[in-house]
């Protein structure tokens, strides 16, 4: 019963977010601030993880190519496919659920605990719009992060495969272009937009409707991470089934 209540509350929250808008000049400033905090602030960790995971994917593939009939170009092909289709959009999103999602929940939750949200409401400000709308708009630039992740993941794979002596540069580049389908990128970026929505709204819901004190803010952040990850994984399955099957 409580799940149904939460789902209903979530959709009412979304309705409220698109209700009475905050003054445009203030909103513009808030959006830039959120882009800086949520997107630019995440680039470092995304770049670091993508580069090294890309490298590991290449090494693992190379080490498992025992059959001489399988061409070495498969190393680049496998790295490209796994990074573009799953690693960059899905696994980076789960990492972002931990980083960005927890930040959103705890920042909104702290505002709830310290009556800052009540202060906004008393002033006649639509707190849902003021707090959550800029985050949703900022997350529209999330595909930019995923594009960087894809690029660095493949770069990491190249570095590990070529400089690790598993395959020559020419063969790697040939494998990278082998059987490339543009639709795979379209699929990845459709997923990314949906994930961006999930990453902005589910943690915001957990922060906005939390009750209690500082301890509950921590609890809400954990719950938010779990639920954001669950929804991401299920959505990933559904979108993949719909677009690639």
């Amino acid at each position: 019963m409580s799940y149904i209540h939460s789902i209903g509350e979530y959709f009412l929250m979304i309705k409220g977010v698109f209700g009475r808008m905050t003054k445009r000049s203030v909103l513009k400033e808030l959006i830039f601030k959120e882009i800086n905090e949520l997107i630019i602030g995440s680039l470092g960790i995304v770049a670091f993880i993508s580069f090294f995971i890309g490298g590991v994917v290449a090494i693992q593939t190379a080490l498992n190519l025992n059959n001489p009939l399988i061409p070495k170009t498969l190393i680049a092909f496998a790295a490209r496919q796994s990074i573009i289709l799953e690693f960059a959009p899905t696994f980076i999103s789960i990492i972002m659920a931990g980083k960005v999602g927890s930040f959103i929940t705890s920042s909104i939750g702290s505002m709830r605990v310290t009556e800052q949200i009540d202060a906004l409401e008393v002033m006649g400000i639509n707190s849902l719009n003021y707090l959550i709308f800029p985050k949703i708009i900022a997350m529209l630039t999330y595909p930019f992060v995923i594009a960087i992740s894809m690029f660095l993941g493949i770069l990491g794979a190249y570095a590990a495969a070529v400089f690790g002596g598993f395959v020559g540069s020419d063969l790697f580049l040939e494998g990278l272009q082998d059987g490339f389908e543009g639709f795979h990128l379209v699929y990845a970026f459709i997923k990314t937009f949906i994930f961006a929505w999930i990453l902005a709204t589910i943690p915001a819901y957990h922060g906005y409707y939390m009750k209690g004190g500082a301890l509950e803010v921590g609890h809400a952040s954990t719950t938010s991470f779990v639920w954001t990850s669950v929804v991401l994984i299920i959505t990933n399955y559904v979108v993949t089934q719909l677009l690639l099957s």
């Binding site: 009475r20 905050t22 003054k23 000049s25 203030v26 702290s110 505002m111 310290t114 009556e115 800052q116 009540d118 202060a119 409401e121 008393v122 002033m123 006649g124 400000i125």
Partner: protein, 254 residues
């Protein structure tokens, strides 16, 4: 002036406010006092429109809040200043940005004009020089003064204060009380203060509503509260050891 008539409000089947009538006058500090759980905060939030009463009406200068259109309600909110118990300052903003916030949201003033008004208000609450500090960098008393500055910067007609002295030492608490009273008179505001601090009652209690178990148990002013024989009031007033000792001394003729 704010007049509340027969206000009823409950949660989960439990009635918290059981029919309260009171008139909060303009230009004086109106106090709502009572023990924890007596319904003070619920009454305040109901008056602010954060809770909808199940019965009764709230009239702002003779006009019932329930008859306001959405636009009128929003307009009323811009005429309300609120001082929260913990200050409720925005952590991510400096003192100046916090105080400027209502001006940015509800006026079309230029930045220079806003800065000048903020400087004027900060000077009034004795906080010049703190413009660029964050709430975490200033003391509790200073945070309360910043919150007062934010509440009055847009020249409100109504000022609500939820336990403005909580967590403050007696000296700072007196400063805050006096500041609230002075601002009320200077700007002819209808001020409503929730407190259970008897020092505040002595300092600024010009029109007092005493709540007990969701009912208006007594009303009067600071001089009358120490003369009443009403047991519910005396139990509350003399629950403080200090006041009890003062009364005992008075009775002994010291």
């Amino acid at each position: 002036m704010i007049e509340i008539k027969n206000i009823h409000k409950g949660f989960d089947g439990e009635e918290i406010l059981k029919g309260i009538d009171f008139v909060f006058e303009t230009g004086v500090t109106n106090l709502i006092i009572g023990q924890s759980g007596s319904g003070k905060s619920v009454l305040l939030k109901t008056m602010l429109g954060l809770f909808k009463p199940e019965e009764g009406s709230i009239e702002y200068d003779g006009k019932a809040y329930s008859s306001f259109t959405d636009e009128e309600q929003r307009e009323l909110r811009t005429e309300v200043g609120m001082l929260f118990q913990g200050g409720a300052l925005f952590d991510s903003m400096t003192v100046e940005e916090n105080v400027m916030f209502p001006l940015r949201m509800f006026t079309n003033q230029r930045k220079r004009e806003m800065k000048s008004r903020v400087a004027e208000v900060l000077k009034r609450v004795n906080l010049e020089g703190s413009e660029n500090k964050y709430p975490s960098e200033i003391s509790g008393g200073m945070q309360k003064r910043v919150a007062i500055a934010r509440a009055i910067v847009n020249k409100p007609k109504y000022l609500f204060c939820d336990e403005p002295n909580s967590g403050l030492d007696p000296t700072t608490a007196t400063v805050i009380d006096k500041l609230i009273q002075e601002l009320t008179v200077e700007n002819n505001i209808t001020t409503v203060v929730i407190t259970h601090d008897m020092n505040s009652v002595l300092e600024i209690g010009e029109n007092i509503a005493f709540l007990k178990d969701g009912l208006l148990a007594w009303k009067g002013d600071k001089s009358q509260i120490f003369q009443t024989d009403d047991e519910t009031v005396t139990d509350f007033v003399y629950s403080s050891n200090l006041f009890k000792k003062v009364r005992d001394a008075q009775l002994k003729g010291h």
